[in-house]
């Protein structure tokens, strides 16, 4: 006879379990059939009969009209299960799931059965975090001000600080501040996920395996300023008195509505910059205008248009700084006159409207003053028969809003760390992917109901103790030996997610596999199918910089990748490079934080890829390492699958056995040692035998040879490397450019501001304000011995169209080809004068 009771902790009561009710409990920490799946160590539904005592404890919840008094359905109910007064389950969570009622007689609710689930805290954790996203976590305590000084200071951070800035790719040795993005430590995520769910965890191996040094870099688009912040710092001024302006007049906006930092002077209608920023950061000026465009014919006769022309009343924004001036123009309207069009005598309102106009300024320093003037930006028509036609702008009302651009963060802006968390990633998926990386098992702590203990799989099993269950084997029930390869697939690939960035895509194109993956092919020739265990994280190829650093191959300003995991390899020396807050103000550095999938730049000893790559996008590492994720954490599992056995037996397990069961116990049975795969349906309410699945213990198995490859990496000019790195560098140029043009602009530089009116241009060099079509270059792009532009037979050129100013004031369209490198330039036959790209993205001319 068995007496089983479920003790409800906290409310000092218990549930009775009828003798004829099965109380099945499963124990399993991971099923070898699905190596990625991780579960709580036990869980099961249990039927509890509606005895008088149980009904009382559960506040008669069988009655739809019942009001709960002591039992709270929505509160986690800790419980224990006692079998004949032996504690077989402790620190479990009980949940009442449903009540089933049957009435065969006159009364209602004669037979009542409650269904409860009992699970351990690990299972409860995964239930708790359910569909919660990483973005639900709060990292506001890590917020800080966006400066290059803080970026550099973070390089001394460790996991206790929560975050660290990483160094991204660059075509030169100059970074703009927006290229710097913080990465949050993986352990910081773990800490907060568990804490949010009401748990803590213990991971003794965290330091040993480098878990505490893993970073998850920002992976999204450009980080935008939050709407709340913009509203907070926004300046608002207006003028509701109708005012007329002649060309060149400064707009008068003299009523201040909001000016939190007193940066606007209504008396002078002048804004004094409170920010220091470079392209791509801007200060935005938003004008809401109610205006009339007036053309005055002061003569006594009607004007007749004798030459086509357009009036384009515009706002000219001029930021005057110390030694530099930045301007921009924003058209308000456009009124065209053609030959023969008449201009009546007097003031003629030729256009009226209410419009919102945007203007901007960039490359400004704190203290630069900005004013707004009325100008015309097009070639006006000619009225030959009258002395003049005067253009005026009457602004009936104007509202001006001044705020920093929302598109990117700039110097001294607040870095809101919650914005640097990968979006649309479930916390449970995140945890499972990390568990998959390190083959981590989790189980509840023995004593603390809120603590979950994490261990890598090998460590978990190695720490088990030996138990001799030889005499518990029920010999007269079938004991089946299943060969593990039979329950799996022919191949198993452990891989990062295939990212769509140019470098990962290029690797896939060239090698037909994901960067850093490992594929195990099991020996069994009877099985088929391929299984793939894919992380939510993308792989993190590394590349060289021109200044000798080795960095993640991402566009720092807007990575737009899958979430990545990289190792914080500490500081390493390199050539001089700069991080500019604005202008050329910022930090000068000679060392950098190494953050890739290796632990150090040369001769690494740890690799956070699953396997050794066919090639790498940098040759700087010298020798790779065998100590990767698959070697360190998966080789024994794979060996177990390849040649291990699953022994399915019935055992005479007692409540004492269950009470003392550890899922890493080494079971001695049939003259061999086994690990426990599953204990299936141990009936806590009977003395029946229990089905148990056992696994061959690791030291029975020969481990597969670690896959290694010769170091035959292509050089930087190789087609395996260069095009893909080049594409990222090109993307960086795009990210670090303000391109207001809707036309065709070829960028070969960063920090450029392309004006709205630009339609066709080639921009070569950095930090230019491009206002004209054609080639805009900071350096001579055609080098000849006499300095003259040589005659070019444009019919020989192909591909990229550009506009050429041929010095007589006219613009001609030409088509030129930019060779991918110097070698191709020679091949193309234009040995002299052919444009070609350098490895760093510069455009040069073959001499």
């Amino acid at each position: 006879m068995t007496l089983t009771r479920i003790i409800l902790l906290g409310i000092d009561n218990y549930l009775e379990v009828s003798e004829d009710v099965v109380v099945p409990i499963n124990f399993s920490i991971a099923d070898i059939r699905d190596v990625q799946a991780k579960s709580g160590s036990y869980s099961k539904s249990i039927k509890v009969i509606g005895t008088k005592h149980n009904n009382e404890v559960l506040n008669s919840l069988f009655d739809v009209n019942a009001v709960t008094l002591t039992y709270n359905l929505n509160q986690k109910q800790p419980c224990q299960i006692l079998q004949n007064d032996e504690l077989i389950l402790d620190n479990a969570i009980l949940q009442l799931v449903n009540v089933e009622k049957i009435s065969n007689g006159m009364n209602d609710d004669e037979q009542i059965v409650y269904t409860v689930t009992v699970k351990d805290t690990v299972g409860d954790l995964f239930t708790d975090i359910g569909n919660a996203m990483l973005t639900d976590l709060d990292f506001s305590d890590l917020n800080h001000s966006y400066t290059s000084a803080n970026v550099v200071a973070s390089w001394a951070h460790d996991v206790t600080d929560g975050y660290k800035y990483i160094l991204p790719m660059s075509s030169d040795n100059v970074y703009q501040l927006p290229e710097m993005k913080p990465a949050i430590y993986l352990q910081t995520y773990f800490d907060r996920i568990f804490a949010n769910a009401g748990y803590q965890y213990q991971f003794d191996e965290a330091v040993t395996i480098g878990f505490d040094k893993l970073l998850m870099p920002y992976n999204g688009d450009k980080v935008k300023l939050s709407e709340g912040y913009i509203e907070e710092v926004k300046i608002i001024a207006e003028n509701t008195i109708s005012t007329e302006y002649f060309l060149g007049d400064q707009l008068i906006i003299d009523t201040e509505i909001q000016d939190p930092n007193s940066a606007y002077n209504p008396a002078t209608s002048t804004y004094t910059s409170e920010y220091a920023l470079n392209v791509p950061n801007t200060i935005q000026f938003k004008f809401i205008l109610d205006y009339d465009v007036i053309l005055v014919n002061s003569s006594a006769i009607v004007g007749i248009c004798s030459s086509n022309g357009t009036y384009a009343p515009s706002i000219f924004t001029e930021a005057i700084g110390v030694g530099s001036t930045t301007t921009s123009t924003s058209a308000i309207d456009s009124i065209t006159y053609e030959i023969g069009d008449l201009l009546p005598i007097g003031s003629n309102v030729i256009s009226s409207s209410v419009k919102t106009i945007y203007s901007l300024t960039t490359n400004v320093d704190i203290g630069d003053t900005v004013t707004f003037d009325f100008i015309n930006t097009d070639i006006p028509p000619i009225f030959n028969n009258i002395p003049s036609a005067t253009l005026k702008l009457r602004i009936n009302s104007v509202r001006l809003e001044i705020f920093p651009t929302a598109d990117t963060l700039g110097y001294l802006f607040p870095v809101v760390m919650n914005q640097h968390v990968p979006v649309q990633i479930k916390q449970s998926d995140f945890i499972k992917s990390v568990f998959t990386m390190f083959n981590i098992f989790c189980q509840p702590d023995d004593t603390d109901t809120t603590k979950i203990v994490l261990k890598t799989r090998d460590s978990f099993y190695d720490s088990g103790i030996v138990k001799d269950w030889s005499r518990k084997l029920v010999k007269d029930k079938p004991h089946v030996i299943a060969f593990l390869p039979e329950v799996t697939s022919k191949t198993l690939t452990l891989t990062y997610g295939q990212d769509k960035d140019p470098i990962n895509t290029g690797y896939l194109q060239n090698v037909s596999e994901t960067y850093g993956q490992v594929k195990y092919i099991f020996d069994n020739e009877y099985i088929k199918n391929d299984d793939k265990k894919t992380l939510i994280f993308g792989a993190s190829p590394f590349v060289d910089t021109p200044f000798g650093a080795v960095v993640m191959g991402i566009n720092g300003a807007e990575p737009k990748t899958l979430p990545r995991i990289v190792y914080d390899g500490g500081m390493h020396s390199c050539g001089t490079f700069y991080i500019y807050d604005y202008g050329t103000t910022g930090e000068t550095c000679n060392s950098y934080p190494y953050t890739t999938h290796f632990d150090r730049p040369t001769n690494p000893d740890l690799d956070f890829n699953f396997g050794i790559c066919d090639y790498y996008f940098s040759q700087s590492y010298q020798n790779t390492t065998l100590n990767n994720l698959s070697t360190l954490y998966w080789r024994r599992t794979m060996s177990q699958i390849n040649s291990g056995k699953l022994y399915i037996v019935y055992l005479d397990l007692t409540p004492h056995d269950i009470a003392n069961l550890k899922l890493n116990d080494k079971i001695y049975l049939d003259r061999a040692y086994w690990n426990i795969n599953k204990v299936i349906d141990y009936d806590a309410n009977s003395n029946d035998t229990t089905k148990v699945e056992l696994l061959s213990i690791d030291d029975e198995l020969i481990l597969p040879r670690i896959v290694s490859r010769p170091n035959n990496n292509p050089n930087n000019a190789s087609s395996l490397v260069k095009p893909f790195i080049g594409e990222v560098l090109s993307n960086i140029n795009g990210s670090l450019t303000i391109n207001a043009s809707n036309g065709n602009v070829v960028l070969n530089g960063k920090g450029n501001l392309i004006d709205q009116q630009v339609r066709n241009a080639v921009v070569i060099g950095d930090n230019q304000q491009v206002t004209k079509n054609g080639i805009n270059s900071t350096t001579s792009i055609i080098a000849t011995t006499d300095g003259d532009v040589p005659a070019i037979d444009v019919s020989n050129f192909q591909d990229t169209k550009v506009a050429l100013d041929v010095s007589n004031g006219q613009t001609k369209m030409a088509t030129i080809q930019i060779a991918t490198d110097e070698a191709q330039a020679i091949t193309l036959g234009f040995e002299t004068g052919t444009l070609y790209a350098t490895p760093t993205g510069e455009i040069r001319i073959k001499l």
Partner: protein
């Protein structure tokens, strides 16, 4: 490196009972330690099987039972028409060798700079390392120091073997530091094998299976034919045979020299003998000591036939050529009861002798027929009348195969108490042959249960069994 045999089966042991060996080793605490068991055909290099056993908890002993494997090599020799034979299928002589395997660690005393790479060496040179170029190794420090030298731990390749005490690894030089000791293993869990550290030569397992009581008291010396040895049979002492009943009794050669004889002496004093097969290379022999086995004796006293009308019983025993008795005498009583019908069933008893029971009462011969048929098309066009036509004898449903199995229901005459007990071995034997008109046919006993009747409960004991011939009779269709 030492293995001790703590326990072993007897030199001659029934193969269907546990054959337990217990071993201990001084190396049980080595990483991945397993005992190795190799079984060879005795005196040869032919390995029959190999097994590995984990040391059991607490005492670290190996607990090895090779019975199930040995059984695969045990069967029975059909003795029909033979006076005696070396029953080579009835036994297995084997050598058993014990060894061990474990992950051998090579102890290094320091890490060193080897041409830009990190090497490991052992100074002073005591134990040469086992590694060769290309080996993948796993380095474990005795005490990780918690500084840059922790990088010494991990998986590396051997890229150079400097000498027997110095290897260079794929780990680039990590820099100088205080000496560190540790161990190097093969990375693939490879174990080093040390075989034949202890062995037992020439053990014999025979085709026998004893119940718990018998096995508990089993002593192989009882069967050693050196004066009072017993035959390998469980025949009762008052066993009766008819004059035609064959009995092939099994005996353990125990290195019998050639020239052994089976003597027979009757209750009337007749004595005869016949030479039997013996060889010091053979374990178990079979000799026919009943029925036709008594036809060609060399008579010492009296004349053939040995069993005349006055003989009540006879005894058989093994002697050398000088008539020195080497075994106990086994008595067999003559069954002269009348037969209504007569069948014999020969069976292999639990110690490997072929014994038999006569079935002298009415028998029933039954056949089981199983037809397989199908309904086939009949009729065709009549070219004279241009209509569908058919013969009345055309087959529609047609038999295409018939299975016929024949069962015999046989009845014994009255059995003695001990015969009733012995009859259980017939019911449960895996080798049974029914003798019909002096020919043996393989058959299978159909009984799935039985009752061991004793005379204290039932004075007259008679048994009925059903047997099915092993080969079905073909039917022409």
């Amino acid at each position: 490196m030492a293995i001790t045999i703590e326990g072993q089966p007897q030199v001659l042991t029934p193969g269907y009972n546990p054959m337990m060996y217990y071993l201990s080793s001084t190396n049980v605490n080595e990483l991945g330690f397993r005992y190795i068991v190799e079984v060879y055909i005795a005196g040869t290099g032919t390995k029959l099987f190999e097994k590995r056993y984990a040391p059991r908890p607490v005492d670290g002993f190996a607990e090895i039972n090779i019975s199930r494997d040995i059984q695969s090599y045990l069967s029975a020799n059909e003795p029909f028409g033979l006076e005696s034979l070396n029953a080579t299928n009835h036994y297995l002589k084997f050598d058993i060798k014990f060894g061990e395997e474990y992950r051998v660690a090579w102890d290094f005393t320091d890490f060193i700079f080897n041409n830009g790479q990190t090497g490991f060496w052992q100074v002073p040179n005591i134990t040469p390392h086992p590694f060769v170029l290309g080996d993948q190794i796993s380095v474990v420090l005795d005490s990780p120091p918690g500084d840059f030298r922790d990088a010494l731990e991990g998986q590396f390749s051997v890229i150079e073997v400097v000498d027997a005490y110095n290897i260079t690894t794929s780990l680039a030089w990590i820099g100088s530091g205080l000496a560190l000791t540790g161990k190097i293993y093969y990375s693939d869990n490879r174990k080093s094998r040390f075989t034949n550290l202890a062995n037992i030569s020439t053990q014999t397992a025979f085709n026998g299976a004893l119940d718990m009581r018998q096995f508990k008291d089993y002593d192989y010396t009882f069967y050693s034919l050196d004066g009072d040895g017993q035959f390998l049979t469980t025949q009762p002492r008052d066993f009766r045979v008819t004059l035609t009943q064959d009995i092939w009794t099994a005996y353990f050669h125990n290195y019998l020299p050639f020239g052994r004889r089976m003597y027979f002496e009757t209750s009337t004093g007749n004595i005869g003998y016949k030479s039997i097969s013996s060889s010091n290379t053979v374990g178990v022999g079979l000799a026919n000591v009943g029925g036709s086995g008594l036809d060609y004796l060399t008579m010492v006293v009296g004349t053939l036939p040995l069993i005349d009308d006055d003989v009540e019983w006879y005894e058989y025993y093994l002697c050398d050529t000088a008539a020195t008795e080497l075994s106990i005498r086994k008595r067999v009583y003559i069954n002269r009861t009348c037969s209504i019908e007569y069948y014999e069933i020969l069976f292999l008893d639990r110690l490997g002798s072929f014994s038999s029971f006569p079935f002298q009462l009415r028998s029933i011969d039954k056949g089981n027929v199983q037809r397989m048929s199908y309904n086939k098309k009949f009729g065709d066009v009549n070219t004279t009348t241009n209509t569908f036509d058919f013969n009345t004898w055309d087959s529609g449903r047609t038999t295409y195969h018939i299975d016929l199995s024949k069962d015999l229901t046989l009845n014994t005459n009255w059995l003695t108490d001990s015969e009733s007990v012995y009859f259980e071995e017939l019911i449960t034997s895996g080798f049974t042959y029914v003798k019909i008109e002096d020919r043996y046919y393989a058959c299978q006993v159909q009984e799935t249960s039985f009752e061991v009747q004793r005379q204290k409960n039932k004075n007259l004991i008679r048994k009925t069994i059903n047997v099915r011939l092993s080969v079905d009779t073909p039917i022409n269709v």
